[in-house]
């Protein structure tokens, strides 16, 4: 009895060691902490459905948002606040409108740590800048549509090797198999004071495609 018990214990240890040391191990429905610790999104509801309970620590995150003004940037505000307060830089590559300083200050983001590449840059230059920036900025935000899977893969690789997070805002679902996380924002059927509905279109280490409705804290303008 004691022999089998110790053998089972030994197996358990091996499995635990594997789970701890091999982050790429596929684990089915198991979505609890997988080696790497995620970075909290600042929204408990969203943390609850994301693998590693938060943003991946590195890689490409796509946010699908068909219209402007759905709270898509608001999703990133807690992360920007946390990073800039640690003295990390955040680069915005060709944003579609002027980032408005008073709103960012109101949200507690240290705007002295924000860099913006003016929207005039060509797509080629914008992508080049992102690739370079992912090596030295912790977070790079970009707004581009219709990028090829190959380009998305390069961004994912750049973010992975640079140990940083690339966030790409898109109007449509790219269906790209390489990104670490793809979220879709929608407001369909939301009551006036409810936040947007966030659904996971794709997440590494997760097979469930669940969604969650965020509370009013996810809405700017409240």
């Amino acid at each position: 009895m004691s022999v089998t018990g110790s053998r089972a214990g030994c197996k358990q240890e091996i499995i635990e060691a594997l789970l701890r040391d091999v982050p790429d191990l596929w684990r089915g429905h198991y979505t609890a902490a997988q080696g790497e610790q995620g970075v909290s999104t600042g929204f408990p509801g969203l943390d609850g459905i994301l693998p590693n309970s938060g943003w991946p620590s590195r890689g490409l995150v796509e946010i699908v948002c068909p219209r402007r003004g759905m709270g898509e940037l608001q999703l990133l505000v807690p992360l920007m606040r946390a990073l800039t307060s640690q003295g990390q830089w955040v680069l915005w590559v060709c944003p579609p409108a002027a980032p408005y300083a008073p709103a960012l200050v109101q949200a507690g983001v240290d705007i002295g740590k924000l860099l913006v590449i003016a929207p005039g840059a060509s797509l080629r230059n914008a992508l080049w800048s992102m690739e370079k920036a992912l090596r030295s900025c912790r977070l790079v935000l970009a707004w581009q549509n219709g990028l090829s899977h190959q380009v998305l893969r390069r961004l994912q690789l750049a973010a992975n090797t640079g140990n940083s997070l690339a966030v790409l805002f898109q109007r449509g679902n790219s269906g790209c198999p390489y990104s670490a996380l793809r979220l879709q924002l929608s407001r369909a059927g939301s009551a006036g004071d409810e936040g947007p509905r966030v659904s996971i279109l794709r997440a590494r280490g997760n097979v469930r495609c669940s969604g969650v409705r965020l509370g009013p804290e996810a809405l700017a303008g409240e």
Binding site: G69, A101, P102
Partner: protein, 466 residues
């Protein structure tokens, strides 16, 4: 120096050496320096910074004759003993220098006259030059005699000292030497007496060593003419390694590199690398150069590359450590500096913006973007609670249609909160009288809209709560 007193003489030129033994004996006797002094009284009137700059330029001219130059208040002194034989005597050296120096003075529109003298001590040569110059004393033993006839004014006594000297009936340096040293020190201070001792070579004197400003210039010819980056970059890399060695030897760094790509029979393509933080890593310079070249349309094949650096900074080792650091808290500023240099090189000037909040009630003036290269204000803004502000602001408010008093964008916009009345700017002629609302479209998008309080009372879209 067996019996210096016996050899006292006021020779103005060396006696010609007659025999080989004589010459070797003299060389043995006359070990030590011979200082050639130029006294430039016209520099006295100039402001100090300019005087210093001019002296350094003149010192540069003197480098043709001496490697040991000591700049003084309004004089330059250089060691010429080692150069006497080569140039053929002090007069030849003087001829050589005075032409160049006069030309330079003429260029500065200063009087061209100056006096010169040579003596075995710096102070001695200075005193002789101040007294009018034209004299050369080759041996220490002769200094006493040569100096004793000089007026005391050459010591540049201050007013009080001058008055005392006058009252004591002292007119010449020789008069001073007759007085007991102790008394002189109490009356005129030790510095005054030291000056005399130094002039005679009785006290050690320090030369203020002139060091030429560094300058780097190096050319590398390519094995064949080429437009190919794969050939140009390794060549530039070689130049950059030379630069690195140059900088390491002098403990310097640089923030500005000037490349010239030389072509056959046409003007060189000039390329300037500007760094946000001085450095000396060839890899980093090369990466920046690559970025620059990638954006450059070369007009013709390149036959040679020239690299020139004339601005230098002190080397700070901490940059390196920061670069090696993992991206930790606040430690990646050096990395970001490098990134900004690269982005600027590729995207062009003024394309990397920072943003800052401005205390202005008018929403469109409350946020400002600035060129990151010039920097904004320092320190984070403190968050202030207040009415909601959108993350995106439109540069120009967009006029909205209106139906039954309700604004229309893609569809009707329901007003969620407001109004927030903003009235401001009338004094600048750009006055704003608006009622702002947070509006929501049927599809859930949140907008920042306002209605004019006068005029046509139109509705406008001003921002998105993204």
């Amino acid at each position: 120096m067996a019996s210096p007193q016996a050899r006292l003489s006021t020779t103005a030129a060396p006696r010609p050496a007659r025999t080989r033994q004589d010459r070797t004996r003299r060389a043995g006797k006359q070990r030590g320096n011979l200082w050639y002094a130029l006294h430039l009284p016209q520099l006295q009137a100039l402001p100090e910074s300019r005087r210093r700059r001019y002296l350094l330029v003149l010192a540069g001219l003197m480098e043709t004759c001496s490697s040991d130059i000591s700049p003084h208040e309004t004089a330059l002194v250089c060691e010429v003993r080692s150069a006497l034989r080569y140039f053929g005597g002090i007069e030849a050296i003087h001829e050589r220098l005075s032409g160049a120096i006069k030309r330079q003075l003429r260029e500065w529109e200063l009087p061209e006259d100056f006096s010169h003298a040579a003596a075995p001590t710096i102070s001695g040569s200075l005193l002789l030059a101040r007294a009018g110059g034209g004299k050369a004393v080759y041996r220490r033993a002769n200094l006493h005699t040569a100096l004793q006839g000089l007026p005391v004014a050459v010591l540049q006594p201050d007013q009080e000292q001058g008055r005392r000297l006058h009252n004591m009936g002292i007119r010449y340096l020789g008069d001073l030497w007759r007085l007991p040293v102790g008394g002189l020190v109490t009356r005129f201070g030790s510095a005054f007496v030291d000056q005399l001792d130094r002039a005679l070579g009785k006290a050690p004197e320090a030369a203020r060593k002139y060091v030429a400003p560094p300058s780097f210039r190096s050319v590398l010819e390519l094995p064949g003419e080429s437009l190919d980056l794969d050939r140009l970059l390794p060549a530039a890399g070689k130049l950059l390694k030379r630069l690195r060695d140059f900088l390491v030897q002098r403990d310097l760094a640089t923030g500005r590199l000037e490349f010239s790509l030389l072509h056959e029979r046409r003007e060189a393509t000039e390329l300037r690398l500007e760094l946000r933080r001085p450095g000396r890593s060839p890899e980093h310079f090369l990466m920046l150069l690559q970025t620059h070249l990638g954006e450059l349309e070369l007009p013709a094949p390149v036959v040679a590359i020239r690299l020139a650096v004339s601005r230098f900074d002190a080397w700070l080792d901490r940059d390196l450590q920061l670069l090696r650091n993992e991206k930790g808290a606040g430690a990646d500023d050096a990395g970001v500096d490098h990134l900004l240099e690269q982005l600027q090189a590729r995207l062009g000037e003024r394309q990397i913006r920072g943003i800052e909040a401005v205390a202005d009630h008018r929403p469109e003036y409350a946020s400002r973007d600035f060129d990151q290269a010039e920097g904004g204000k320092a320190g984070p803004d403190t968050p202030v609670a207040g009415p909601p502000r959108p993350l995106w602001l439109l540069k120009e408010p967009r006029r909205l249609a209106c139906r039954d008093g309700q604004p229309l964008y893609h569809g009707p916009v329901a007003l969620l909160s407001g109004p927030e009345r903003i009235e401001s700017g009338w004094w600048s002629g750009d006055d704003v009288r608006r009622d702002y609302y947070v509006g929501e479209e049927e599809n859930g998008c949140r907008l920042w809209v306002y209605r004019e309080r006068d005029g046509g009372r139109h509705w406008y879209l001003h921002g998105y709560f993204a």
